[in-house]
């Protein structure tokens, strides 16, 4: 009887480490269970591989090439603008016989040739990186969305797990970036793709499609521009001897400015939501 408290103390001393062991074991079991469940859930989530690392690198490189081209052209185009302004202010338009005007026209022509040369030098690099990006995306889109998916699964990918409008806000903006510098456009693409891991497949599919179609258009545009440059250079070399400013010259410069530096007045039209906003909670048993 006298030994009873001592026994109890001894028992408590013995059970304490055992309890700790139980707690540790239970914690390990719980962690293991959580890991298994999480991995299982991840394995069940359909993931689409649309952006391999090569695409991300290609986008970055295209952005750099575009920036270099812009930097090179910005100064020349600025000079061309000033010369054109001077030509108009001097009322040279139509004054073909005037020697001063002819000199001015030759200067403009020479700057124009300089612009064409810079473009001719930079465009092959640009074309190469744009085509690489396009080809990688093309392969991904064809395999992942074209061959592995039916129209219904594609729709489900776009809608995501829930069809709530909250997903709309996180989705990337659709096409129509004419008011943006080319390098900015690629920088934005790069940022979107590089941070796309956190977003759902629905954003990725739209983003990949958006970039792919843009690359396709850009590639065709570069191809046409390269052909045009060869022709325009020849024409301008001939014109240099006469000191003529052709309307085509002004048009080409305008086109280059639009492609490279964007148009400030062009804004993407985005459809606004219809008025009112009522929360919907009802789900029909017929809903799919």
């Amino acid at each position: 009887m006298r030994n009873a408290p001592r026994d109890a103390q001894a028992t408590r001393k013995e059970t304490a480490p055992r309890r700790t062991l139980y707690v540790i074991c239970l914690t390990i079991l719980f962690i293991a269970f959580t890991c298994v469940v999480t991995q299982d859930a991840l394995a069940n989530t359909p993931t689409i591989r649309l952006f391999p690392t090569t695409v991300v690198e290609d986008l970055k490189q295209t952005g750099n090439v575009a920036r270099d081209m812009e930097t090179g052209l910005q100064e020349v185009i600025g000079r061309l603008d000033q010369q054109q302004e001077l030509y108009i202010e001097s009322k040279c338009d139509g004054a073909d016989g005037d020697a001063g005007c002819q000199r001015l026209a030759r200067q403009i022509g020479s700057t124009y040739l300089e612009m064409l040369t810079i473009m001719e030098e930079r465009l092959p690099d640009m074309e190469h990186t744009v085509n690489n990006t396009r080809n990688s995306l093309e392969k991904g889109l064809r395999n992942e969305l074209g061959r592995k998916m039916t129209p219904w699964t594609l729709q489900e990918t776009l809608v995501g797990n829930d069809a709530s409008p909250a997903t709309v806000q996180s989705a990337p903006a659709l096409r129509g970036r004419s008011g943006m510098r080319l390098s900015e456009r690629f920088k934005q693409y790069y940022t979107l793709v590089a941070t796309s891991g956190a977003k759902g497949d629905q954003s990725l599919a739209v983003l990949a499609s958006d970039i792919y179609l843009d690359m396709e258009e850009t590639s065709q545009l570069i191809q046409r521009t390269r052909q045009e440059i060869a022709r325009a250079t020849l024409m301008e070399q001939l014109n240099q001897s006469f000191g003529i400013i052709t309307p085509e010259m002004i048009e080409v410069v305008g086109g280059v400015k639009t492609i490279l530096f964007g148009e400030s007045d062009a804004t993407a039209i985005v459809a606004g939501p219809p008025p009112g906003s009522l929360e919907q909670a009802y789900r029909s048993p017929l809903e799919q």
Binding site: N135, L137, E138, K139, L141, R142, L145, G146, R147, K148, M149, T150, P151, W152, L154, Q155, E156, L158, V159, A163, S164, P165, T167, V168, A171, L174, R175, Q202, A205, V206, A208, S209, D210, Y212, L213, E216, A271, P273, P274, P275, G276, S277, L278, Q280, Y282, S284, P285, L286, E287, Q288
Partner: protein
């Protein structure tokens, strides 16, 4: 005398048949719940061939008193129609989802996009456009689900973009 009697009896028989023909003019009430009751009565009494017209009339009644609860009313009506054997489950799903769900039933298909959707892309998009106008009626005008309709509209544009890119990629042989 006997011939006359037979003729009279036959006429009476035919007249009795004529009076049993159900009135399938459709629900008259402008109140959705009452209109659904009327429609159910008529459909159960042999007017099932007029289901499409009845559904359209009910949508009209719903437009007259738009509210979020109308979605449930239509769902229950379609489940009832399916239980009564007037519609198959798939038909009931079609009727419901075409008007009251964000997803497009026009995109149903068992074959992959490269082989099936891309060759019929224009038709698929045309069907989706028509379905979007049905969704405008169901989601927006009948059940005031503005967000749902906006999402459907957005989805239509996303599908259009993704299909354009996917089909271009499918067609390219680089």
């Amino acid at each position: 005398m006997r011939t006359n009697l037979i003729i009279i009896l036959a006429a009476l028989f035919l007249a009795s048949c004529a009076s049993n023909t159900p009135d399938c003019s459709g629900p008259q009430s402008r109140n959705l719940a009452t209109a659904i009751d009327e429609a159910q009565g008529a459909l159960a009494n042999g007017c099932h061939a007029h289901f499409d017209r009845y559904y359209d009339t009910l949508l009209g009644a719903g437009e007259g008193d738009p509210k979020p609860e109308n979605k449930r009313a239509f769902s229950e009506f379609l489940v009832w129609s399916s239980d009564q054997g007037l519609l198959s489950t798939r038909q009931a799903q079609n009727y419901y989802n075409r008007y009251f769900n964000v997803k497009f039933m026009s995109l149903r298909g068992d074959y992959n996009n490269c082989s099936h959707t891309c060759p019929n892309k224009q038709k698929v998009l045309f069907d989706m456009e028509r379905e979007l106008s049905d969704k405008e009626r169901g989601l927006l005008k009948v059940s005031l689900d503005n967000k749902g309709y906006y999402r459907a509209d957005q989805l239509y544009h996303e599908v259009e973009l993704v299909l354009e890119a996917t089909c271009t990629a499918c067609a390219a042989a680089r």
